[in-house]
C-alpha cells in the first residue's frame, strides 16, 4: 500500500511538473511553429514615378539623293555612316554617254542652222518673182525652223547642265550617310535613291517604352536629360515630342527629340525621368497587395496580449488605392505606424498568429 502511494505521489508530481515545464516553454514551442513574417512601415509621401529607358537615335528626316541620269558610277567618295557637310562630293558618275548625246544634239543644231541658211537663200530668190503664195509658205517654214532650233538649243542646255551638275553628286545637307545603294562600275538607275543622308538640321529622335502609370505625369514638351553612349560620355537635352499608347496596353511609347550637332543615327541614348505624383499617402509595394471580393487588402501586424504573454497577429486591412506606378501604390486606410507584412514563410490568413 505504501509503495503504491509512493508511486502515485510520484505520478502526481510528474504530471504537474510536466505541465509546468510545458507552460514555461509554451511560447518558445509556439514560436517555432509560427509562420515567420518580415514587416515594414509604409513610407509617407507622393509616389515616385520613374520613367527610364534606352533607345537608338534616328534622324527625324532623311534626305534621299537620286542620280540625274542613268549613269554608271565612276567613283564613290564616301562610305556608309560617314559624316558629310553641305557640298561634299559623294559620287562621281561616268557621264560619257550623255556627253555623246550632247555632241549629237549640237550637230543636229548645226544641221538645222544650215537648213535655215538654205531657206533664207530660197526666200531671196522667190522675192524677186511674183510668187506671193510661195513666199508666204517659205516664211512660215523658216519660222518653224527657228522654233525647232530654239528647242534644240534648250535640249543642249539641259544636257550641259546635267553633265556639269549631275556628274558629281554632292551633299545638299549636313548629316550622316545612312544608306548607300551604289557600287563603282555598276549603273545607277534614275528611279531609286543612291544615297540617303540623315539630316542634322531635322534633328534626331528616339523612343522608349514606359509603364502607363509611371508616365502619367509626363507631358509633350517636357524636357529631359538624355545620356549618350559615347566616349567621352555626354548628355544633351531632349524634348518629349510624342506620347502614344502601345498596342498591348498598360504601357506608353514616349518619343524624345534631340537637337544637337554631332549626333549620329544609331547612337544609344538613355533617359531617366523621376517625378512625384500629386497624390499623398502611404506607399506600399504592389507585391504585398492581395485582392478579394471586397477589394484590395494587405496584412498588418498587431500586438495582442495573448493567454501567455504578448503575441503578434496578422489581420486583413482593406485599403483604397489612390495612385500607382509600376511597383508601388499610394493608399490611405492605414495608420502611419501600422506595420504591414512584406514576406511570410508560409501562407497566412486573417487572424493568424505570427512571429517576426
Amino acid at each position: 500500500m505504501q509503495r503504491r502511494k509512493k508511486t502515485l505521489r510520484w505520478m502526481i508530481g510528474l504530471f504537474f511538473t510536466l505541465l509546468l515545464a510545458l507552460t514555461f516553454l509554451s511560447n518558445t514551442i509556439q514560436g517555432m511553429s509560427l509562420p515567420k513574417v518580415s514587416v515594414e512601415k509604409p513610407e509617407t509621401g507622393g509616389l515616385d514615378l520613374d520613367v527610364s529607358g534606352e533607345g537608338f537615335l534616328q534622324s527625324a528626316h532623311t534626305a534621299q539623293l537620286f542620280p540625274e541620269g542613268d549613269w554608271k558610277v565612276e567613283k564613290i567618295h564616301i562610305s556608309k555612316n560617314d559624316r558629310v557637310s553641305q557640298g561634299d562630293p559623294l559620287i562621281t558618275f561616268d557621264t560619257s554617254s550623255t556627253k555623246r548625246t550632247l555632241e549629237d544634239e549640237k550637230t543636229r543644231y548645226e544641221q538645222e542652222r544650215i537648213q535655215l541658211e538654205k531657206m533664207a537663200d530660197q526666200l531671196k530668190m522667190l522675192l524677186r518673182s511674183d510668187d506671193t503664195t510661195g513666199v508666204d509658205n517659205l516664211k512660215r517654214d523658216i519660222e518653224m525652223q527657228q522654233l525647232d532650233m530654239q528647242m534644240q538649243q534648250r535640249k543642249i542646255g539641259d544636257l550641259q547642265k546635267q553633265i556639269t551638275e549631275g556628274g558629281m553628286l554632292t551633299s545638299p545637307v549636313y548629316g550622316v550617310i545612312t544608306s548607300l545603294n551604289a557600287a563603282e562600275g555598276a549603273a545607277a538607275g534614275r528611279g531609286q535613291p543612291v544615297i540617303e543622308i540623315a539630316d542634322d538640321a531635322s534633328g534626331y529622335q528616339f523612343s522608349i517604352t514606359a509603364n502607363s502609370d509611371d508616365a502619367a505625369m509626363l507631358r509633350i514638351g517636357d524636357k529631359a536629360k538624355v545620356h549618350l553612349d559615347e566616349e567621352p560620355r555626354r548628355s544633351v537635352e531632349g524634348i518629349i515630342s510624342e506620347i502614344e499608347d502601345e498596342p498591348e496596353g498598360g504601357s506608353k511609347k514616349i518619343t524624345f527629340d534631340l537637337k544637337d550637332a554631332n549626333l549620329q543615327p544609331g547612337l544609344k541614348a538613355a533617359v531617366s525621368i523621376t517625378s512625384q505624383s500629386k497624390s499623398f499617402g502611404m506607399q506600399i509595394p504592389k507585391s504585398v497587395l492581395e485582392e478579394d471580393n471586397n477589394g484590395y487588402y494587405i496584412y498588418t501586424v498587431s500586438e495582442k496580449d495573448g493567454p501567455l504573454g504578448a503575441a503578434y497577429y496578422v489581420s486583413k486591412t482593406y485599403i483604397t488605392i489612390k495612385d500607382e506606378n509600376g511597383d508601388t501604390v499610394v493608399t490611405d486606410g492605414l495608420m502611419p505606424n501600422e506595420q504591414y507584412v512584406k514576406e511570410s514563410s508560409e501562407p497566412i490568413s486573417d487572424g493568424d498568429r505570427v512571429r517576426y
Binding site: 502515485l8 502526481i12 504530471f15 510545458l22 507552460t23 493567454p307 501567455l308
Partner: protein, 290 residues
C-alpha cells in the same frame, strides 16, 4: 443456505457488479483509447456526429476502441501547439487549490465547534447550515451573483473562491466526523489543562485526518468539474477554467478533444487513487455512508 448456493449468489453478484462497472467505465476507456488516435482518424469517424451529417451517416458511426495506428499526436497538439489548454489548466488549478485549502481550514474549525463546543443556538445554527447544504447550488446562484456584484468581485476568481471556501458541505462532513471522536478525549485534555485550541490542534485534528482527506478529495472533484459558476461569474474567455474550455474545444478541433479530456481527468484520477483509502475511511467514520 448451502455453500454451493452461496457460491452461486456471489457469482451473480460479481457478474452484476462487473456489468455495472463496465457501463460506468466504458466512456472513460473510450476516451482514453481514442486519445491515441490521430486527429485525422477522429475526424473521419466522428465527423458525421457533429457536423450535421445525414441521419444514416449518424446511424452508421461506429464507436471504435482500437486505433488504426497509435499516435501521441493529439497529446502533442494539445500540449505543444495550444498554449490555451495549458492556460486553462492553470486557471483550474488557481480556482481549485484555494477553495480546497480554505474549505479544509474553515471545515475543520467550524466542524470542531459544532461537534465539540457547547454554545447557545449551536444546533439551530447547524440546522441552517444543513438547509444551505440541501439546497441545490443553482438556487443560491442568483444571491451569490448579487453579493459578488455588491462586493465588486464579479469577473474575478474571488467570486468563485469565497463561496467555495465557505460551502456548508465541508463543515457538515467534518462535524459528522468529529462527532465520532469520543467526548472522553476532550475531557481528558481539559483536565490536563489544555484550552479549546490545543484540544483542537492536538486531539481533533490528528484524529480527523481521514475526514480532511475525504473532504479534500470530494471538494477537488467537485471544484475541478465546476462549469456553471465560471460561466456566470467570469466574462473573460481566457480566465475560464479547463472544464469550461473543454466544452468548447470539441467545436474547433474534435481531433484533440479526447486527449484534452484524458489530460483533464488525469489529476482527478491520480489524486483520487492516492486518497482512496482515506475517502472510504472518512465517509464511513463520519456516518454518512450511503
Amino acid at each position: 443456505m448451502t455453500a454451493a448456493l452461496r457460491h452461486i449468489v456471489t457469482s451473480f453478484k460479481v457478474i452484476f457488479l462487473v456489468l455495472i462497472a463496465a457501463a460506468i467505465l466504458f466512456p472513460v476507456v473510450l476516451t482514453a483509447s481514442n486519445s491515441f488516435m490521430s486527429e485525422d482518424e477522429i475526424s473521419r469517424h466522428y465527423d458525421a456526429l457533429n457536423s450535421g451529417g445525414s441521419a444514416s451517416a449518424r446511424e452508421h458511426t461506429a464507436i471504435r476502441l482500437i486505433p488504426e495506428s497509435v499516435t501521441l499526436s493529439q497529446f502533442g497538439e494539445v500540449l505543444l501547439a495550444r498554449p490555451k489548454f495549458l492556460l486553462h489548466f492553470w486557471n483550474s488549478v488557481k480556482l481549485t487549490l484555494p477553495i480546497i485549502l480554505g474549505q479544509a481550514v474553515v471545515g475543520t474549525l467550524a466542524g470542531f465547534a459544532f461537534a465539540k463546543l457547547a454554545f447557545p443556538g449551536r444546533d439551530k445554527l447547524f440546522f441552517v447550515y444543513l438547509l444551505a447544504m440541501l439546497m441545490p447550488f443553482q438556487v443560491t446562484l442568483v444571491p451569490n451573483y448579487l453579493i459578488a456584484d455588491k462586493l465588486g468581485l464579479l469577473n474575478s476568481y474571488g467570486a468563485i473562491v469565497f463561496p467555495g471556501i465557505f460551502a456548508s458541505f465541508g463543515v457538515f462532513l467534518l462535524r459528522q466526523f468529529m462527532m465520532g471522536i469520543p467526548d472522553a478525549y476532550m475531557e481528558a485534555v481539559k483536565i490536563d489543562g489544555a484550552g479549546y485550541f490545543r484540544a483542537f490542534l492536538h486531539i481533533a485534528l490528528p484524529l480527523a485526518k481521514p475526514g480532511i482527506a475525504a473532504l479534500i478529495l470530494l471538494s477537488f472533484v467537485d471544484n475541478w468539474n465546476m462549469v456553471e459558476q465560471p460561466i456566470l461569474f467570469l466574462t473573460e474567455q481566457i480566465r475560464q477554467p479547463l472544464s469550461v474550455y473543454l466544452a468548447n474545444i470539441a467545436e474547433g478541433a474534435r481531433g484533440v478533444a479526447f486527449a484534452a479530456s484524458v489530460l483533464y481527468m488525469t489529476p482527478m484520477v491520480l489524486i483520487f487513487l492516492y486518497g482512496e483509502e482515506h475517502l472510504v475511511e472518512g465517509i464511513q467514520m463520519s456516518g454518512i455512508k450511503g
